[in-house]
């Protein structure tokens, strides 16, 4: 088995909400989450799910913005939860981020040049001005831009797609091993998304792995290698992207894929769906299967314990649902 670039082991994140009168409510944002990204070849691993599914919490813990409640994040063999400052510094360099909002990440008072100057200074990337210039130009070329077109401009003078590609160029310049891309295309126009996704694929072929966090299954389907579909902090289903999206097995994932609007007026959504209000406000279900209140196949067993991941198809395709418990299936058939 090849070396792991990143292993997330039993990651759990619990937020405590303090209500009026000292009452406390625990919100489990991520529960016993496991993920591994191999050292090579570089891959695009998608984390998909609705808001509140824990996908952004995952991005934040991987980027070190929030500590885990329990569990480990192991990067190239080093447990980052107990890393030394120098290990942390290296980690900050090896793991870069691209965020959702291509407007908010820029300081509107500075020209684009500033973004690159900062990163070169912080990581001591270049020894001379000319070296820095070359480096910036090369990074911009990778994302299909040219220095003369963008560096002297202010952020508001560029399109969202351009700004997001500049963020990719900035991340690329540091030559990281992993880029955490948190919804990088969700605020960019459909016709310009392809350019950003294409940059991601090219960087992957260059040896940079991605943790691609998104709620948009169709872009994940186009570029992703492995996909994890989260539901309220737990993995509902994971596997090869094409397998999971082509043949979803978990009832939630089936609903999710069924709800993606089809760009064809002749194929309409079938039936209407209703969301139980408790479910929508995430006030329910702390034990057993999280999807219980909405599940069409629910069963008493689902309330007892959270279902483990059962194999449901091709290698690595697993779903957290008792419907696929071999013993159970065997018992019913026998």
């Amino acid at each position: 088995m090849s070396e792991m670039l990143l292993s997330i082991r039993n990651a759990t994140k619990v937020y405590t909400q303090r209500g009026a009168g000292g009452s406390k409510r625990q919100v489990v944002a991520l529960q016993d989450f496991n993920l591994e990204i191999a050292e090579s070849p570089a891959t695009i691993t998608t984390i998909a799910g609705e808001s509140g599914s824990g996908k952004s919490t995952l991005a934040n813990v991987v980027l070190g913005f929030t500590p885990l409640s329990s569990g480990q994040i192991v990067f190239e063999g080093t447990d980052m939860t107990r890393a030394t400052p120098s290990q942390q510094k290296r980690y900050r360099r090896e793991v870069q981020a691209v965020f959702q909002d291509p407007f908010g990440v820029y300081n509107p008072f500075y020209r684009i040049q500033h973004v690159f100057d900062m990163v070169i200074r912080n990581f001591g990337l270049a020894k001379s001005k000319s070296e820095a210039r070359e480096m910036i130009e090369q990074a911009l070329n990778v994302v299909g831009l040219h220095g003369q077109d963008v560096l002297r401009k202010y952020p508001h003078q560029l399109s969202g797609g351009q700004r997001q590609r500049i963020m990719m160029a900035r991340a690329y310049m540091v030559k990281p091993r992993l880029i955490v891309a948190d919804e990088p295309v969700s605020m960019v126009d459909a016709s310009l998304r392809a350019a950003i996704l294409d940059v991601m694929m090219r960087l992957r072929d260059d040896g940079i792995s991605f943790l691609y966090i998104t709620h948009d299954l169709s872009t994940a389907y186009q570029i992703g290698d492995r996909i994890f579909i989260l539901y309220q902090g737990t993995i509902a289903e994971t596997g090869n992207t094409v397998d999971v999206i082509g043949e979803p097995r978990h009832p939630y994932v089936q609903l999710l894929i069924d709800s993606v609007p089809e760009p064809d007026p002749n194929i309409q959504w079938e039936g209407t769906i209703e969301l139980p209000p408790d479910e929508e406000m995430r006030t329910s279900q702390n034990s057993g299967c999280r999807f219980y209140p909405r599940c069409p196949h629910r069963h008493d067993r689902c309330l007892t314990a959270s279902p483990p991941l059962y194999p449901v198809g091709k290698a690595g395709h697993v779903a957290s649902c008792y419907l696929y418990d071999e013993a159970e299936v065997g018992a019913v058939q026998g």
Partner: protein, 362 residues
């Protein structure tokens, strides 16, 4: 999605609307002479990339353009009233009661310090008078200047609960604050507010774009219900072509402040006419097959200074000499599909041919 929409009456008629933003280096022509109609009981999709002027166009219709923007010219007729000729007070009465908006990021447009019922009550109270007049004129118009009846508190509460129930929200959110609701619930609270005074037109600006697909589907269902059961006509602004396919009856495609195509949803997806529309349809990512990404460079002209001729010439794969000099007019290339493109030429018998076919065959 019904064919009889073509016979329906026009509710909103926009003619040659121009909205410019003033900048030190000349006006940005955000909306540069657009004309379209909204028919009774239809959902008209308004699509295009960000910055194409779709939101500005909608704000222009609502007259919510604030400086440095201004409406340069145009005509906006709502049920026979020219909105551009109204006073501020008349306009204020018109909003919500006849022309409602579900704003972009509706989730953040709710006041965080007010409970849901207070916000809906606010809309109703503020516009009660206009609504009463409106209702009275709908019921035969014997409103002889009597002061309109104010709703009692109990009536108001009943009405609000009825609205919440109508959009599928539980009663208890009545006295909740916006932050206690999920995104989809806030969105539906905004829909409840929009339909509170029975408007004839609702403009929904990207109203589902920040939601998850399952929640989006629920909100979309609610909007379809508004259309089908209340007969409200809607302009739905967005860029999700999948959602448009599911919801819209007709679609208006904007590019750089101009309308390049208006077509029924069937034509739009089956035979998109304008090269830009074709690009839009092609760039919808599929969940059925993995295909190579289609990358297009977003080179656009300076919005202060559009080139003569066609607005799409810089990005068009089929650009011809004529496109640099002559601005294409919108022509109906087949029933229910109007395209502004030189690729389509009218024949002696009134039908249209695609110029590319002629070149290939000769």
């Amino acid at each position: 999605m019904t064919d009889n929409n073509t016979q329906n009456r026009t509710v909103l008629d926009v003619k040659d609307l121009r909205v410019y933003y003033e900048t030190p280096r000349g006006d940005v022509k955000a909306v540069d002479g657009i004309s379209f109609t909204l028919r009774e009981g239809e959902i008209l999709g308004l699509v295009g990339e960000s910055g194409c002027g779709k939101s500005t166009a909608a704000m222009g219709v609502l007259q919510l353009i604030s400086p440095p923007g201004r409406i340069v010219s145009g005509e906006i007729n709502l049920d026979g009233t020219d909105l551009l000729g109204l006073t501020t007070e008349q306009l204020r009465q018109m909003r919500w009661s006849r022309l409602a908006l579900i704003p972009q990021g509706a989730m953040n447009s709710l006041n965080p310090t007010m409970k849901i019922h207070q916000q809906i009550a606010d809309v109703i109270r503020q516009h009660e008078k206009a609504a009463m007049v409106n209702l009275a004129s709908k019921n035969g118009g014997n409103d002889d200047g009597k002061p309109a009846q104010r709703m009692s508190r109990a009536e108001l509460k009943t009405r609000i609960l009825e609205l919440l129930q109508w959009v599928g929200l539980p009663e208890r959110i009545y006295s909740m604050y916006p932050h206690e609701l999920s995104g989809g619930m806030k969105q539906r609270a905004c829909i409840a507010m929009a339909i509170a005074l029975n408007p004839s037109v609702i403009i929904a600006d990207e109203s589902t774009s920040a939601l998850d697909v399952v929640v989006q589907r629920v909100v979309a269902q609610t909007m379809l219900k508004v259309k089908l059961e209340l007969g409200v006509s809607m302009i739905m602004i967005g860029h999700d072509m999948g959602l448009m396919a599911q919801m819209a009856d007709r679609i208006v495609v904007m590019y750089a402040g101009n309308i390049v195509e208006i077509a029924t949803v069937e034509h739009m997806f089956k035979n998109p006419g304008h090269p830009y529309t074709q690009l839009l349809i092609e760039s919808v990512p599929s969940l059925k097959e993995r295909k190579p990404l289609k990358i297009t460079e977003g080179i656009t002209h300076d919005p202060r200074n559009p080139p003569p001729g066609c607005i799409f010439q810089l990005r068009c794969p089929f650009v011809m000499d004529r496109c640099h000099t002559e601005k294409p007019l919108r022509q109906e290339i087949r029933p229910g599909q109007e395209v502004a493109c030189h690729l389509y030429e009218e024949q002696a018998d009134g039908s249209y041919i695609d110029v590319r076919d002629v070149v290939e065959h000769s």
